[in-house]
Symmetry: C2
């Protein structure tokens, strides 16, 4: 029996989501046949409109619905301490550990030869602009402990050499080869304590 | 840090899908921030439009994009043999096994006190209409071996008593390729009851 075109189209679309294989896309598609029209419209629109109201903070590159993100505008946070992360989701992960009260800078990517990501694709010009204001005393590089994350960290360490700034890297309490998404808050706060000079 | 409203809305929407928990909805939502507008539109529309072209076959209740499904219109299939299943997805599952060449009837539900599904919600009137034509000689009840599936099977067996039709139920037993270690006691006792000569 041929599969219906509408179902095939939906399964193909769903299987583009991370962690969704052919089998789970199929299960989701069948389940959606029993959803109300209102539910389908709500899910569909939430997806279509996810980027509509989301911009990048003009200071740090974080995702935000305002001009500047809520961390950049928070005067209670220590602006002499700057943590550099690869992706916006990393900020949410670190914030959950409640172990960091400085500010962030988001590269929005990592150097990756495989994915064709080069240094010019990273949010670095606005980083140097921030540093030139002279308020940052320490930079913590918190890219993932993966090949791409390490490459990016080393590249950053090199271009930051000319600044009179203490540059550190999160301690290797992190699991090598792991993904920052899956670090538990305790490990993360230990890694923060044990950070070392690059 | 507060989570962005757009992200929260998307995560809530995604977590309505089967098998998608809070954590995977979050991962999907973040990943979608990097999707192109075209990809987001395609996924969103595939969801919103899934029911637009899909109707129920007027003969068997299967999902179809035509008036009658491709199995009901297939004259090569044995119309004296009818398999009753609970959901359209069950038809796809059974078709994959390539072990059945009769026709189907889809109840589009199972009797479930918990879910408020009663006999009048099932696609039974059109089943009786088919049986009254006198061509069906055997009915195989293939509802799931769950409480709701069994209840439905017993109910069907009862209303089919007045027809001169052989009514059977799929056998219970060990899963092919499975390990005896993992068989639950109830299945094992059913497999023992249904043992056959080698």
């Amino acid at each position: 029996m041929e599969k219906l075109k509408s179902l095939e189209r939906l399964e193909e679309a769903l299987s583009r989501l991370p962690g969704v294989g052919k089998r789970s896309a199929e299960r989701m598609a069948y389940a959606m046949l029993d959803f109300s029209d209102e539910d389908l419209a709500e899910i569909g629109d939430a997806i279509k409109e996810i980027k509509t109201n989301i911009k990048r903070c003009k200071v740090c590159g974080m995702i935000t619905e305002e001009e500047e993100c809520s961390i950049c505008t928070d005067s209670d946070r220590d602006e002499s301490l700057l943590m550099i992360v690869s992706y916006p989701k990393d900020v949410f992960t670190i914030e959950k550990s409640e172990s960091f009260k400085g500010k962030y800078h988001i590269l929005n990517g990592e150097i990756s030869l495989g994915k064709g990501m080069h240094t010019e694709h990273l949010n670095i010009p606005s980083l140097l602009e921030r540093l030139n204001k002279g308020k940052v005393k320490e930079i913590i590089i918190a890219t993932s402990p993966t090949v791409d994350g390490e490459t990016t960290a080393l590249y950053l360490a090199k271009i930051l050499e000319s600044y009179k700034i203490n540059v550190t890297r999160l301690a290797y309490g992190l699991q090598m080869g792991g993904n920052l998404d899956y670090v538990d808050p305790l490990t993360l706060s230990k890694a923060l304590e044990g950070r070392h000079k690059l």
